[in-house]
């Protein structure tokens, strides 16, 4: 039973982990919210767990991904993030603004955040 639990937990993790060439996305939220729940964020279709202490680093498949939040008529695109192999792309989300605003550490063409 115990082995089954461990196996299922590892299987669940393996299915969440991006495979192949990967890069990293760092999401910073400002200000750091401690008692209030921040906006729900999505990387493409995956829901991002609320960043702990205003900072989350996530492994992502190489390519361009969409960072979105919940809007009135569904998901609202905040910005696009270019993920490159073994590189980190940092995005800061200003959560007090409505809708939240995306600030890229480095800007590429067409307002895509780059590493």
């Amino acid at each position: 039973m115990r082995a089954l639990l461990v196996a299922s937990a590892l299987l669940a993790q393996a299915s969440c982990q991006p495979r192949g060439d990967v890069g990293y996305v760092e999401i910073r939220t400002v200000p750091v919210l401690t008692n209030v729940a921040g906006p729900t964020l999505y990387l493409d279709t995956f829901k991002v767990e609320p960043p702990k202490k205003g900072n989350a680093v996530l492994t992502q498949r190489v390519g361009t991904i969409k960072l979105a939040t919940d809007g009135a008529g569904g998901q609202l695109l905040l910005c696009e993030i270019a993920v490159k192999k073994n590189r980190i792309t940092t995005v800061t989300i200003s959560v007090l603004e409505r809708p939240p605003r995306c600030q890229c550490r480095n800007n590429g063409a067409n307002r895509v955040c780059v590493s």
């Binding site: 982990q17 990967v22 990293y24 767990e49 590189r87 980190i88």
Partner: protein
């Protein structure tokens, strides 16, 4: 001059890498000294502990690989080779960062272990099956486990931050080297244009001399 600048930049990167890595290792060694063995712990906590130990074991190897690669970058003045070395370093640091990212295996297990310890503690506090002293013993054990798991996940957070910073340092070094390569290529292009201009000027002079030498019949 450009090469010297590149090397200086890489040396700075290497020192930063070593310092950051040391900072990443120290909390882990401190944690392993504090953590006693937990034979009675349940699956998520045990599994997290096992994964964390495995990750900690990879740190000395990682440190050596970074040191070796950084040393060879220092020896080379060839920007192409230096860029390749930095790419390799990024792959090493990227792998370490991948293990501790928020959606990585160790962090996910850490969250699960912490949730399990908290749930278990809440359930035990309301449990009426045991004698008060037995219940107190179990609650104390789970409190200790919860606190240690909290500390371990915080240390993972610190490692995550440091590896991310290290990767950024390597990226900026690589970007700097890329800029140096672009300067060198622009310099080569300029030399080609200068040579071409000189050739055209020489041809023009020859043509002028030729035209100047032409005398109309009867002149």
């Amino acid at each position: 001059m450009i090469r010297r600048l590149a090397i200086r930049r890489l040396e700075t990167g290497r020192r930063v890498a070593a310092a950051l890595l040391l900072a990443a290792i120290l909390p882990f060694s401190a944690a392993s000294a504090q953590t006693p063995s937990q034979p009675d712990a349940l699956t998520p906590v045990e599994e997290f502990s096992k994964q964390l130990e495995a990750f900690k074991k990879t740190i000395p190897d990682l440190n050596k690989k970074i040191e070796d690669s950084a040393a060879s970058v220092d020896r080379w003045t060839d920007v192409g080779k230096a860029r390749k070395e930095i790419e390799e370093l990024r792959a090493i640091v990227g792998a370490a960062l991948g293990a501790v990212t928020d959606n990585g295996a160790v962090s996910t297990l850490g969250t699960q272990a912490l949730n399990h310890a908290r749930t278990k503690l809440r359930a035990l506090e309301q449990d009426t099956r045991f004698k008060p002293e037995e219940k107190q013993f179990l609650v104390d054990q789970w409190r200790r486990l919860r606190e240690e798991t909290e500390r371990a996940t915080e240390e993972l957070g610190a490692a995550r931050k440091e590896f991310a910073e290290l990767l950024r340092t390597l990226q900026s070094n690589e970007d700097f080297i890329d800029e140096l390569i672009q300067i060198r290529q622009a310099q080569k292009a300029l030399e080609v244009i200068q040579r071409l201009t000189k050739d055209i000027r020489d041809a023009s002079d020859q043509l002028k001399r030729l035209i100047g030498g032409i005398k109309p019949p009867g002149a």
